[in-house]
Each structure stands twice: as C-alpha cells, then as structure tokens.
Symmetry: C2
Subunit: 679 residues, 2 copies
Amino acid sequence: MRAFSSTLNKKKIKIKMCPQPNDSISIELQQLQLDADGRNERTQWLLNSPEPLSFCNKLINSVSETILQKETIFFPSNSKQCKAGIFSFLQGLFPILSWGRNYKANMFKNDLLAGLTLASLCIPQSIGYANLANLEPQYGLYTSVVPPLIYAVMGSSRELAIGPVAVVSLLLSAMVTEIVDPAVDPIAYTSLVFTVTFFAGTFQAAFGLLRLGFLVDFLSHAAIVGFMGGAAIIIGLQQLKGLIGISHFTNKTDVVSVLRAVFRSFHDEALSPMNFILGCSFLIFILVTRFIGKRNKKLFWLPAIAPLLSVIVATLMVYLTKADQHGVKIVKHFKGGLNPSSAHQLQFNGSHLGQVAKIGLICGLVALTEAIAVGRSFASMKGYHLDGNKEMVAIGFMNIVGSLTSCYTATGSFSRTAVNFSAGCETVVSNIVMAITVFISLELLTKLLYYTPLAILASVILSALPGLIDINEAYHIWKVDKMDFLVCIGAFFGVLFVSVEIGLLIAVGISFARIILDTIRASTEVQGRLPGTLDTFCDITQYPGSTSTSGILIIRINSGSLCFANSTSIRERVMKLVTHTNGNDEENTKENVHFVVLDMSNVMSVDTSGIVMIEELHRELVSQSIQLTIANPRLRVINKMKTAKCFDKLGKGWIFLTIGDAVDACLSLKIADPSSTNC
Amino acid sequence: MRAFSSTLNKKKIKIKMCPQPNDSISIELQQLQLDADGRNERTQWLLNSPEPLSFCNKLINSVSETILQKETIFFPSNSKQCKAGIFSFLQGLFPILSWGRNYKANMFKNDLLAGLTLASLCIPQSIGYANLANLEPQYGLYTSVVPPLIYAVMGSSRELAIGPVAVVSLLLSAMVTEIVDPAVDPIAYTSLVFTVTFFAGTFQAAFGLLRLGFLVDFLSHAAIVGFMGGAAIIIGLQQLKGLIGISHFTNKTDVVSVLRAVFRSFHDEALSPMNFILGCSFLIFILVTRFIGKRNKKLFWLPAIAPLLSVIVATLMVYLTKADQHGVKIVKHFKGGLNPSSAHQLQFNGSHLGQVAKIGLICGLVALTEAIAVGRSFASMKGYHLDGNKEMVAIGFMNIVGSLTSCYTATGSFSRTAVNFSAGCETVVSNIVMAITVFISLELLTKLLYYTPLAILASVILSALPGLIDINEAYHIWKVDKMDFLVCIGAFFGVLFVSVEIGLLIAVGISFARIILDTIRASTEVQGRLPGTLDTFCDITQYPGSTSTSGILIIRINSGSLCFANSTSIRERVMKLVTHTNGNDEENTKENVHFVVLDMSNVMSVDTSGIVMIEELHRELVSQSIQLTIANPRLRVINKMKTAKCFDKLGKGWIFLTIGDAVDACLSLKIADPSSTNC
C-alpha cells in the first residue's frame, strides 16, 4: 500500500511541475531542464554502481556456493546449541529422524498395503532385470532388499520405489559384456558388475556432496523421452531371447545385430514353440489386467500382482508337467538366503579399471537422472520439493553399500513408483515393507523359483515397457520445439542403431550445440515506443503498433552474452539496420539516422571481443556522423567496460540508464541545436 | 520533434486525468480503472502478437539468409537491367572494377613507393618462411608472386600485404612432417604441401560462398593473442637451427623437444661459431634500424629495407670470403625463373587424403583468421568495413590458384601489412608492385641467393617475431576478463608444450565451454522500482537506491535461454528468494510475499524443459498461496508458451507486458480485496 500511494504522489508531483499549460515553450524548456537533471542523476547511479568483488573473492564465493550449503555451516557457541546443531545436521542426512517422530499407525496401514503390492510387482521384475543384466536371478532380488532399506533411512522422496530398473540393467549388460563375456566367465563378469556399482555409487555420492546436482540436468527432458523410447525397444528385442527360447544370442544391443541373431537362430536352432505360447499367453493376461486396472481405479492391485501371479502359475505348470524336459527353458540356477557379502569381489587393480570407472560414471548418471526425474514429478504432484543434491548422496550411499552386499546398481523405478503412488503409500516405509517381503520370499520361495520359465520373465519385462515409450510427449515436443525434437530423435535412433552410450552422447551433444548456436546466431531488434506509454520501448516486430522516433534508431542486442562468437555479426547487423533505415527512405520524407541507441539490458556478460566490438561500432558510426548511445548496461558489463576504459573512448555523456533517458537526451540535443546533429 | 511533443501531450493527458487532488480516494479508484484498461489493452497486444512462421518457412529463411546474400538475388526484366546486373555482380566479385575506374596517377606514386618497400621486406621474409616450412627457398618467393596478383583483383582490403606468413609456415611444417619427413623425401613433402594448400583454398572459398564467415570468429581475440605468442616462441626456437648451424634437428615443435635437440647438438655436432656471430650481428642491426624507424617516423623505410640489405651484405661477404667452406651454412638449392606449374603434383588418391584435408582445414582457418583480423583492424583505422565472406572467397581462390603454380598457403601478413600502411599505400596496387618486384628478383638474383647464409634468414624471421608477442594485450585481457585470459593462456601453453593444433583446440574448447557455463550458471536478480520513476524497475544490487514493493517479489531471469541446463537451478533460486524474503522478516514488520512477478524480458528462447519449469514453479508457488505473474515474455517465448498451452495452466490474466503493469495489477487486486491475498 505504501509503495502504491507513493506512486500516486509522484504522479501528483508531475502535475505540480507543469502548472500553466498555456505557456507551452517555457514549460518545454523547464521540463527539459528537469528531465536532464533526472537523467544525469540516473546516469551517475549507473556509472557509480557497486564495485565488483576482486577475482579471488569471486572465485572463493563461487566455490563455496557450489560446494557448501550456507545452512550447513555451523559454529556452535555452547553445548546446547551444539547438540541441536548436530541433531539438525543428522536430520538433514537422515530425513527419517524428522518424519519418523510424527509417524502414525494409520499411515503404517497404508504403507503396508502399498509395500505388499510393490513387492508382488518387484519380485518378478527383479528376476527379469537380473536376467537382462546377464546376472543370476537372485542378484535381482538381493538388489531389492538392501538398497531400499538404505534409501528409507537417507532418502527424502516419499514415493520412490527403489530396486533394479530396466534401463540400467541394459546399460550394464551392454557395456560390461564388452570387457568380459558372461557366457565365458560369469564369475569375473559378476565381480565387474559389483565394481561398476561401487563406482556408480561413489560418483553419485561425490556429485551430491560436491553439490553438482546440475549434472543430472544435462540429460534434458527431450533427451530422456527419446532415450527411454529407444531403450524400451532395445530391451523388448532382448526379450526375444527368452520368449522364443534362443540359446545363442548376440552380446550387442543395436536393432540390426539383434534381429540378425534372431533370424539366424530360426535357421540354426531347434526352437520349442512352447516357450513362445507360454510367454505370449501370460503377456496377454498381464496386459488385460492392466486394462481392467485402468478402467476401474479400485482394482489398482490387479495389474500389480498379475506378474507375480503369472510367475507362480507358470512355474507350477512347468513343475507339474515337467515341461522343462520338453524344451521349455527355465531359470535353474537360484541361490536363496540373505544377501552374501561381495566386498572381496570388488576389483580395483585390474587392467580395465579406467573402463569400469567410465561405465560406473555413465550408469550412475543415468540411474540418478531416472530417480530424480521420477522422484521430482511425483513430489510435485504432492506439492513438496526434492533436493537433488541430497538425493544424490542417498542414492550414492545406497549403491556403495549395495555393491558390498551382492547388489547391482539400483535406482528409482518409474513403473513401480507409479504403482506405489496409486497404492496410496504415505512414506518411504512402503519400501521397507517391500524389502522385508522380498527377503522373506528369498528365504522361502527359492525352490519354487528354480522352475520359473524364462519366457514368463520376458513377458513380465515386456509388459513394463509400454510405459517407457511416450509417443504423445514426443509429439508435444515436436510441436513446441523442433530443436528439442531433434535431441529426442537423435537419442532414440542413436540408442536403436548404434549403442546406448552413443545415443546419450548424441543427445547431450545436440543439446549443448544448441546453446552455442543460440549464442552465435544472436539477433538484434529495432525497438519502438509503445503507444500510450511514456518510456516503454518494445520490439516493433512483436508489437507492430509501437512507433519509432525520427532520426533515432533504437537497437536491442538479443543475446545474454556479447562475446567472440557473435560480436562481429551483431556489429554487421547494426550497420545493416542503419543503412537500411537510411536507404529505405527514398523520398526523403524522414530524417536520416543521427543517433543509434544500443539497448544492452539483455547482455549479461561481455568478453574482450565484445568490448572491442562496441568501440569499433562507435568508430564506424562516427565516420558516418552518427552518435552511438548506450542504454542500460548491466552491472557485470559496466564494470568490465570501466576496467577496459571503454567510456573514455565512447564519451561518458552517452551512457544512460534507460532507453527513455537516451532518447530524451538525443531529442533535447536536437532541439537545443538542430543544425549540429552531426555531433 | 513530433515524437517529443507527443510525449509532452501524453503528460498533459495524465494531468487532466486527475483534476481534483483533494478527493483522493475517488481519484485512486478512477485512476485504477484507467490503469486497468490500459493494462488489459497492452496484455491483449502481448497475447495477440504476430504468429510465428511455420517450421518449413523458418528453415528455408534461415538457410537462404545464411547462404544467399539478399543483394545478389537478381531477376532482370530487360536487357539493360540485365547488363547492369551482371556488371554489379562482377563488381562484387572483382572489386578492382569499381575502384580501378577512379585510380589516379598520384595514387600510383604512393602505391609504387609502398610496393617497393614491401618487396624489400618480403623477399628475405619469404625465403625465411619457406625455410621454416621445410621447403626450398624459391617456393617462398613464388608464393609472393601469384597470390598477391589474384588478391589484387578479387580482394577488397586496401592495405593487406599478401604472401607467406610465419604461423602458417610453422603449422604446415609441424603437421605435414608427421606424414612425410622432408629430409627423407622432399619431393613427396612438397607435393603434400601443395595439396594442403589446394584444400585450404577450397575450404576458404567454400566457407565464403556458403557465407560461413562466422567460423573465423571461433578463434576469439584472446585466443589469437595467446596462440600468436606461443607460435612466436616456437618459431623463434626453430630458428636456433639456422642461427647455430645445427644439421640434425627435431621435427617436433614443442619447447621440450626443441631444447633437447639443441642441447644434444651441442654435444654431438661440431658447430661453427661463425653462423651465430653472423646471425646475431645482423639481428642487432635490424633491431637498431627498427628502433630508429620508431623514433623518427620519416625513416619508416629504414627498418623495412634493413632485412634485404642484411641479406645482400651477408651474402656478398660469404661469397667474397668463401666462408661457406669454413662452416657457414648457406641456402645452396635455389631455382630461379617464373613459377612453374604444380598441377601434376597435387595428390588426391593417396592414403593420407583425410589427414591432408584436415591439415588444409586447420591451415585455411588459421590463415583466414589472421588475414581478416589484420585486414579489419587496418580497415577500421581508415573507416571502411571489410566483408568477411567476400574476403574468404578472395583468399580461397588465391590459394587454389597458388596451389597450381607452386605456391604454398598465403595469407595477409601482420608485419608487412603494417609496413605497407606506414609506407602510405593507397590501394592494393602496392601488392601488384611487390609481386612484380619479387618476380624480377627471381629472374635476376638467383645466382646471388645461392650464397645467402641460413643464419641471416633466421635473424630476419627472429626480428619479425616480437610483433607477434603482445604482453600488454595479454595483461589487458587479464584485467578485463579472467575467463578470456584462461583462453589466452590455454592457447599459449598448449602451443608451447604440446602442439599447435592442441593449442588451438584448447582455446576453442575453453571459449565454447564458457558459453555453456554462462548458460548453466544463469542467475536471477531481485528488481526494485527506481526512485523518481513511475515504472522503471532495476536490479537492486546494481542500484541500491531502488525500492521494493511490499508483498510483491519481482525476479528477473538473467539468461538469454531458459533451457534444460538452467531451468531447475532457476526454479530453485526463485523458491529460495521467496523463502529468504519471508524468512528474513523475523519481526513481522513487512507482509509476506503474495505475488511473484517473473520478468522474462531477457529470455530470448525457451525449450520444453523451460516451459515445464514455469508450470512447476506456478504449482509450487500456488501451494504456498503465492500468485505467479509473468512480465514481458518475448515473441519466441510467448509463441512457444501458446503452443504448449502453458497459459491455460497459469491463467491468461497473469501475463503482462511490463513489470509496471504486473505490479499495478497485483496492487489493485490487494486494494480491491485486501483479505484475499491468497488467490
């Protein structure tokens, strides 16, 4: 209210300033003088803006801002404060300490239901993903026990369902297979997978501790859509192995190699149609239950338990009919019991250490991207915000502990998180319930799982894939932003036809090339005064009603950075605009351009090339008897121009805080001395 | 004048609007209504801004703008127009047709003097640079005959002195030597150099024709300073071979390898001190003449002819004293006469074609960068502008023709252009005079040049190097822009300790990384109303006097692009600012934030991640009972938001053209219904 009435007061002051509208010339001159005073005062503010920090201070600030969170810096002055500080620090690290104290019995009821639903979906998926990752099936279940428990203590998302996921399993199998063939040496392969998981966890935790959460954003939304779509198709093709019952498959993931392997196996192998019939019928069953679940929201548990039901029924069928002796491929290897330690399996002295670390980095980043994207979208539905850095630390620690307890890389699964959410979970306790359920089934169901047909696992994975392919979103991206669509389609085809890493690389490459291209192709726009306003200037293309002022060309630089990559082209554009404005005027009805007002309000940073450009532009305009005027340079820009002594060359009188001031100054110069417009 | 009086009229209208300052509440309401009408009208302008072009049109426009110059599209309607059109097209391609018609006799007098001065500097330098490029000395002179003549016809710079230059010679010898050792197979080496020159010319001409002139800007000013400094030191070290008279030298260019080779030769070879004494004494002579030339501007010709004088005197001394039989190394191989054809030497079917093309690309770009940088800086001194694309075509053709007539890659030389300028050249005719003079000396001086001592050539090159090292400029860069200095020093050390290409790569890499980093580290700033203005809002850090409005937080996004790389961090910054503003207010003296005005005037482009971010920000703010208001989205942004149906989610009533409108709308809502600030 205060500010508003002060606005009105100012309007009144303006009224008082021109009391007799009759004597118009004296008023104009008086007004000019007043305007000039205000202008000069504002220019002084501009020129005397706060000094920048020294280089060292800036560096220290920047590093400390990135690495340390201001809230965590803590200097206790007495023991009570000290205790409170330690407790709040621990609360930050282990969010369970804060929400655990308010945990109620009726919340547990919901979490128990959600956890059990989750477990019934998790058990068949985990076995299937372990199979996709070329690991023995129990490792998938191990991964659904320890990591969820760690995350429950450290994580801050309430919905995220932790465990193995399809894309990371695919990445692992695609990249680790290049080092060791799992068919030749499964023990070495498993050791390498654990080592990769350890590296992935270490990188994740390190990025979180160093507050490099922004790394996750390098995979843009469009890239994730394309990547997930491509990965889903690749994963689906990998399932042909189990679904058809192929013994000799390819280690490569691209479409061409996989299809070639499938066709070759049709020729070379005696395939049992039983596998295919079994897999397809249960796939149809799962898809039908999902359709029912979508139509009737109350039956949400039906699609969730359908996979487990399929596994149990199919396994019993095989066990009772002894179908495994008639060509139906089964899991066979299965070791039950609690997660064994795998600390001795980590290899830090092999010749592949660099390669393993690279795989760990890629898997870690992809896992983080999926977890944080999923966690954030569900958090935003419930109206709370997820701190990316904290999540990274939690997921990192969970994977480090996982790598020591026979788990491979775990993260937040998209499909299971959705199930968890619709099952009505309240807190991360549903993950604890799930982990305990999985652990119990590891103890009890081991014997049963021996006879599980591989075709069923394939159909469980296949049924989870449609959720990863989002054609609507791809179409939306195409409509809104063609360049984003290029990123999306680049990732998609890269994953499909080359390899998973290349797909990611293409997506990130195009995304960054776009940023650079945006800077290089910086444009300029001519500004005009918006009708009905005193000093609001706008792009005349965007607002065709805005009017230009005769003899003055107002040009805005449309780029956040005036640098080596665009300074030449901007200078050329400005000179072209000047020539164009003068040249268009064939009938000489308008004045030639005498003043160019360069609006720099968009320019956030400038480098030495940019400053040299402004000086050259000034020289070039002066040679055509045109005065260059600069409006609204920003803090960083003005400080650099001061250091470069740029104003000595341009003249301090030609810098203004607003376009309005600059235009008024040019006009008053013309009024004061209409002949000497050639300044 | 018209616009100015309309400004005053509008001020008068404002006066009439509030005639009785006594009845303040009714005035406020009346004012509010009028304000709201204007605001709504402006919002309509914003929302009904021109439709964007379709994707295909945009693509076609963008391609045609890049490739074609609008001026060259020409559809003649009759034969007279057709003739005029063809002539103007030819004038564009051959600028000599336009300036040649006004060429006067007294201009030729100046050009003749400048050309002769240039030739006297050019002859020793050309021989020296050919030596640096591991070519026989006559190739250097050949390169000073044909390319200058071609450039004289096609080029538009009036000062540029064309011929071989130090940096390109170094690049050629460093990179081609990796394919063929000139000591082992000099003929194959020479053929490869011509092929590289052909590729360089082709790339240059192609870039010019495709209007990719901006490629030259990729080497920023800072990168050139660092690169030139490093290259000068490397070139200087290479001269130790000639200056000391070493027979077995290294092919590598980095400091460590060269110094090791020098020290080894002290051990292994019997070096004659005569080389060193001869070289050093003439180097001192040249430097002294340069010192005199600088002190007395009239003696500008003295430093220019000193190198040629040194060569002639030293050669005569060696010839008369038969010093070549006493350890003084001489040129020996020297073939005079007109440039022979080298078309048959070009190799397009070798196994190294890809590598040769790469070297051609690098040499071509470096040559262009030097020529255009030098040409532009002298053009700007004389107040005319150089079209980068035209220059590229001219230099490209000159090198293509050069590669067919036994010339290696030529470009504009910095040191000789400066001499040409101070000798008072008027047009590019000085280059023609120089070329003819060089040609005459090729015919006459051949016998003499046989005895030229290598040490003199080394001292001629050494004397030209200090001009390439610009410590003052490096210091200026350090003061103005630390990141630019990093580029500079990166190029310098890269060239010095690794190789020339790596140095260039480091410089370009850092430059682009900086652009990406600027986008990633996009900031936000809180805006306040500037005292004494109605609706000018500025950064409160830059203008500490500006005042904030209670209950309204105005935040400007400080980035040209709101994209995947910065949208998350911007959202977090906005939320932090909201929390900070509310939290700081411990004594509850101020209102909490009820409105966030997001000023998007800086945001030139947005991608799908950016749009999703705005929607999420809106949701998050609503959950805290805060209304998000958007001010001044630009044309591209508003069109994308329309396509993404973003306004349906945000509410169309909350988009305003200016911050002032947005603030007024928020305030009028508060006045109309002070209780329901929780909208």
